[in-house]
Symmetry: C2
Subunit: 208 residues, 2 copies
């Protein structure tokens, strides 16, 4: 598992000529960092004097951000697996008509997975943006900038995952699924762009 390797080693592998880990794993890791920063804002605030009124709300935000953090962390490896199965499908034999049919079906299945994985990452990153707003509005002022970094990282995770959808969706035979996915990504990006700027502004305002 990539997530067991050191930051140093992960960065070396990202930089190498090997196709994985690549942008999809980086997107998932940025999303996981974003969720971790939301959790941090909550964890630092919980138990602080003067923040008693937001304890219940920030406990709920923290529990949710920890759940999405685990999902996004798992996606670092899932993205590699999705890419590998796509490469394996392209390498299947194509000598006979039977071969070609089998290969075509395998490619379509792998492309679907390689589209659904970043779609899932984009959806989850959008959830982190919502959590970042709740944490940044209510969290301890001394760590509110961490909420700001969180919301920026979450939006970048979303847009980065979108790029991987744009690569794979055009090759899908199932045009309905492809079109629906690209449309959903468009909606997520629109939400993420507006909401992340709003939260960033809120954070800058609270920094004074």
């Amino acid at each position: 598992m990539i997530t067991d390797s050191s930051l140093e080693k992960f960065l070396d592998e990202l930089a190498s000529r090997a196709p994985t880990p690549g942008g999809g794993s980086a997107a998932a890791l940025m999303g996981a960092m974003a969720a971790a920063l939301v959790s941090m804002v909550c964890n630092v605030t919980l138990g602080k004097k003067g923040y008693e009124a937001v304890e219940a709300e920030l406990t709920a935000v923290r529990d949710e951000s920890e759940t999405v953090r685990r999902r996004l962390t798992a996606m670092v490896d899932e993205d590699v697996a999705a890419f590998d199965s796509l490469m394996a499908a392209y390498k299947l034999p194509k000598a006979t008509d039977d071969d070609k049919a089998r290969r075509g079906a395998a490619i379509e299945g792998a492309l679907r997975r390689a589209t659904e994985t970043p779609l899932d990452c984009a959806r989850t990153a959008a959830q982190v943006i919502k959590l970042a707003r709740r944490a940044s509005e209510r969290g301890y002022t001394g760590v509110v900038s961490d909420g700001g970094v969180g919301v920026l990282a979450a939006y970048t995770a979303l847009r980065s995952a979108a790029l991987n959808v744009y690569i794979n969706a055009p090759s899908l035979k199932d045009r309905t699924f492809a079109d629906e996915t690209v449309a959903e990504i468009g909606t997520l990006i629109e939400f993420g762009a507006a909401e992340s700027e709003a939260v960033y502004g809120l954070v800058r305002g609270r920094l004074g």
Copy 2:
């Protein structure tokens, strides 16, 4: 060193109630990921048929991105050290006038370091954006999306580092340095916003 710990452990520490690692380290890591992705685009392209004409240019980009990657990776730990020395300065005794003078000087020095560290991160992230353009214009089409993720990550690293400048600059006694730094950050963000969108557009165009 944080960069020796696993991704899993780094994320746990980011999420914890401990003040470090926080947004500053996350910013540096996003910058390092961005540089790694630029290197990847170059490394995958170098030696590919049909890309002979860009070999010299992409070798130069790769060498530079590897240098900035090392600097940004080091900043993950430097940000923690800068924060720790600021906390230590605030905890110095302040009973006598002598104490107060010593404490004041220590705080000013630590604040300067806690402003220069993210400024350095922002400057280096801006360099990565420039490298991402060169790689994304010339790199192998099959990995151009990784250049897109790289440019988004670099710009987010820049804006995230900026937040840490905004936190610390107002408390500095040296107003000239503080004002110059905030002005430079403004220029870097302006460049980063326009250039990262231009490169993202270029990448989407090359994806077809």
